[in-house]
Amino acid sequence: MTPEQIKLHGDALYQALVDRQPLAPLTEREPDITIDDAYRIQLRMIERRLAKGETVIGKKIGVTSKAVQQMLNVYQPDFGLLLSGMVYAEGQAIPADSMIAPRAEAEVAFILKRDLDGPGVTAADVLRATDFVMPCFEIVDSRIKDWKIKIQDTVADNASCGVFVLGGTPRSLRGLDLSVAGMVVEKNGEIVSTSAGASVQGSPVNAVAWLANTLGALGIPLKAGEVILSGSQSPLMPVKAGDFFTCSVGGLGSCSARFS
């Protein structure tokens, strides 16, 4: 794709985000679009947000679990950037109509105390660089109509990132094996899924190492202080105003998300 096309599509996605008006899939309009093109479009969409005063506060990994991969028919992870405008405090109501077709997913967030500069990052490096972890909800949204996404569509759309909520108490990873940490997700008081950390690439720690190595190959480090969302351990759950979600993680405590 030419730089002009990249800019055009990045700007269109930014406008779709602002106006909450979804677009037809890029993969329909640009059948030859590559994943590289998609990441360049993502970057353009992010530039527009940064120009409005937002800052980059972290990164997210998407499409990590088998469940989400099957749901989207996409069989590789992707990543997006977390911006300052995406954060909600736990307990604060998230207006459901601030997004197009929001869906909640429960995961574990890492907060780094050291940079992780791939390639060559191992699980041990991730453990060493992690300040603490917290359960969290990511509310994903798609600027592509009806979530009809292929991998290029979601990548261009910043990995379908919407907003996120970090929960409860920070925990050190010392003595905590996230791969066997159980997760219970409830929607309006009813259990909708149980799983364990192994659902994201064997362990959320592996997912963060994957991200550090993938971004490292592109010259982008994970930075000290950043929030890293390690990928959903629950199915994607549609949300509407009035919904209340909680997720509890063994050894980690819980996180809740409330929609108005």
Binding site: G182, M183, V184, I191, T194, S195, G197, A198, V249, G250
Partner: protein
């Protein structure tokens, strides 16, 4: 009871010989559609009597159909309960002979051992926790004697809730400081993750299955004696296994349970 003693005994013989000969059979409600749940438990008791007469002993109790998905599928509100016998026990890390089984599946679960008897009605999670000596991780190998695991509630209860083999883990822990609700389990088959769950997938809390067992027995004038080993029901989905498969389940804070199918 809707059947006479002779029919009951013949159905017990029909199902138990299917188990012992590793042979699948047509479900009993096809020929006896009038059977009730009480009949199912009476047939299960007759199977117990046959085994005890042969010198086998009850090694523990189990809950089945404990997940919401399974209960919805069977159209029931309470789990069903069955018996574990001494010959069903496999050592942690041991071999399970598939030639003795029909179409085995494995489920990961939490097992309870009681230090005090539990008596219903009105038994609840708190009472179960108070009466629990320790919990251990466990894997149950279920093996319905019915074709393709197709059964209804009465048929599965009569078939001793598909009990077949079980493996008890090596780490026993008191329940203090242990959150069984969020306790994670990861099942691997031949090294690949095939199922994951947290304890809450069993009735919201595994101890709830034990409470419901106590209440179920109370309705029959029985209690769960101190020292009883009880499996609380599969937290993961049941995964089919065959000769050559190796299963390992890792439990949060409780170590792991493994076995090989030969």
């Amino acid at each position: 009871m809707t059947i006479d003693q002779k029919t009951l005994d013949s159905l017990a013989e029909y199902l138990e010989s299917a188990e012992l000969e590793a042979r699948e059979v047509v479900k009993i409600t096809d020929a006896h559609p009038q059977l009730t749940l009480d009949d199912g438990y009476a047939i299960q008791a007759a199977i117990r009597a046959r085994k005890e007469a042969r010198g086998n002993q009850v090694a523990g109790l189990k809950a089945g159909l404990t997940s919401r998905a399974k209960m919805k599928q069977m159209g029931v509100e309470v789990p069903c309960f069955g018996l574990l016998f001494d010959y069903m026990s496999i050592a942690n890390g041991g071999d399970v002979k598939t030639s003795e089984l029909i179409h085995p599946k494995v489920e990961a679960e939490i097992a309870f051992v009681l230090k005090a008897p539990l008596r219903g009605p009105g038994c609840h999670v708190g009472a179960v926790l108070a009466a629990t000596d320790f919990v251990v991780p466990a894997v149950e190998i279920i093996d319905s004697r019915y074709e393709n695991f197709r059964f209804d509630l009465v048929s599965v209860v009569a078939d001793n809730t598909s009990s077949s083999r079980f493996v008890v883990g090596s780490v026993a822990r008191g329940i203090e400081g242990l959150d069984l609700r969020t306790l994670g389990m990861v099942m691997e088959k031949n090294g690949e993750v095939v199922a994951m769950a947290a304890g809450a997938s069993v009735l919201g809390h595994p101890a709830e299955a034990i409470a419901q067992l106590a209440n179920h027995l109370a309705a029959r004038g029985e209690e769960i004696p101190a020292g009883t080993y009880i499996m609380s029901g599969g937290a993961t989905e049941a995964i089919p296994v065959a000769a050559g498969d190796s299963i390992q389940v890792r439990f949060q804070d409780l170590g792991s349970v493994s076995m090989r199918f030969v």
